[in-house]
Symmetry: C2
Subunit: 253 residues, 2 copies
Amino acid sequence: MPETGWATVPFMSTLNKTEGVSLYVQIRETLRSQLNSGDFETGQKLPAEDELAAQFGVSRMTVRRSISDLVDEGLLYRRHGAGTFVAQPHVERDHNRLTNFFDTEQAREIDVEVQLLHQEVVPARLLVANALALQETEPVIRIHTLRRVDGIPTAVYDEYIPYLLDPGLLQEDFRYRPAWQVLESAGYKVKRAVQKIEARPADETFARLLDVEEDAPLLYKHRVVYLEDGTPVSLLLCHNRGDKYAVKMTLLR
Amino acid sequence: MPETGWATVPFMSTLNKTEGVSLYVQIRETLRSQLNSGDFETGQKLPAEDELAAQFGVSRMTVRRSISDLVDEGLLYRRHGAGTFVAQPHVERDHNRLTNFFDTEQAREIDVEVQLLHQEVVPARLLVANALALQETEPVIRIHTLRRVDGIPTAVYDEYIPYLLDPGLLQEDFRYRPAWQVLESAGYKVKRAVQKIEARPADETFARLLDVEEDAPLLYKHRVVYLEDGTPVSLLLCHNRGDKYAVKMTLLR
DNA sequence: GAGTGGTCTAGACCACCCG
DNA sequence: GGGTGGTCTAGACCACTCG
C-alpha cells in the first residue's frame, strides 16, 4: 500500500465513455482536482504514464495528452527519464487570457459603474485605421465610456469596431461587456489580442474625467483583438488611473 | 495539377530520420518556412491531414502535432469538419516570453549602457521576502543598475536573488544578462515569470537617476521568476521612464 | 454523403535519469 | 540496467461542415 493517495483511487471507474466529454478532458480534470485538493506535496512524483494509463483504463497517448495540458498550465512538470512531478502551488497563472472585467472584478463584489459618453459611427482616424487594417476615414463604431469603481473614476475606455464588419452591432449594449465578447455572441471566433502598455501623463481632458491632477501618471493600454483567421476586429484605447490599476502577465521561458 | 504549391513540393524527401531532430519538428519548420515565404494566401486551405501525412511519409498523428504547434502560434487555424487554414500574417506574436533585453534590443543596433550601482548581500525587506518566499532579514543578493539607451537614462533595475540558493552567484556579472539567464547558465531550470505593471510617479530618487521631473510618470514592473518546480528565484523591481518604454503582451481567448 | 478534423488505441523504439 | 518520458506508427470511429 503506497503512502500517497494516487494508487488508491479507482480512477477508471470515474470515467464516462458515453457522455460528450472526451476522455482526456475527464482525466485532466480528475488529476486537477486531486492537485487542487492539496493532498499532494510539492515535488512529489506522479505514477508513471504507463501506470496512470492502466489505472484509468486508457492508452498512454490519452493520459499523456491530459498531463501535457496540466504541464502547460504549470501545475505539473516533466523530467525526461525521471518522471512527472507536482509543481509548487499558488504560482499565479492565467493572466494572458481575455477575460471580462465584470466577470472577474464584480464577482469579488466590487462595485463597477459604467457611464456611456459616446456610442456613434465616426470616420477612422489614422491610429484607428492602422490598428484595424482600414483606410483612413472608413466608418468605425466608437464606444466611449467612463468607468467608476466604488464610485471613484478609474478608467476611460475608447473602443473602435469596423462599422462595415457588422452594422447591426451599433444597436448592442457595450457598457457591461467588452467589444470582443459582444462580437463573440454575434458568432465571431475571437482568438487573441495584442496589447501595448505605457505610462503617460494625464492631459487636461483625462485629468478632468478621472479626477486627478494634470500630468498625473496614467496606465495607457492599446489593445487590438483578432479573430482566429487573424482579422483585427476591435481596438481599445484605455487610460487607467495609475494609483488604482495594475496589469498582470505571465512570461514563459 | 493543383494551383497551389502545396502538393508539388516533395516534402518527404526533405525529412531526415537519422539526425537528432524529431520528425514533427522538421515538418513544423518546413510548414513554417512555406508560410513565411508568403506563397500562401490568407484563408487558403491546407491539404488535409491525411494527405500531408502521406506527402511527408509519416503517420497522421505526427503531422497533427506539427500543425498543432503552428496553430498555437497563430499561424494556422483549424475548423472541425472543414479544414486547416492560413491565418492573416503580421499579427505580432510571442510577447509573453522571457527574453534578454540585449538579445532583442541590441540586435536592433540600439546602444545600451549599464551602470552598476550596487551588487551586494543585504537582508530581505518585507516586499522582497514575500516575493521570494523567504523570511524577512534572510540574506539576498541585490543587483542595482541604471540603464541608458543611446545615452539617455531609461530604467532603474533592482534585482534580488536568495543568497542561500547559491552563494557563488555573487561573483557573477549581472550587468548584461538578466538574473534568470545567469541562473539558467548555472543549471537551474527557469520556467516562467509573473509580472505586475503599474504607472507610478517618480519620487525624488528616481527623478534624479532618470533625469526627469519629480512625479513624472514611470512604468513600474514587479517581476518574480520561477523554476519549473515553482520555486521563486528572483525578484525584479524595475522603474522605466514612461516616455521611453512600453510593454507588449498577447492575450488568448 | 464525402471530406475533414477530434479522439483514441495498442503497441513500438529511443533517449535520458538514476541508483 | 530498469524505469521514465519523447516520439512515432497504422490503423479506427466519431463529430462536424458543406455542397
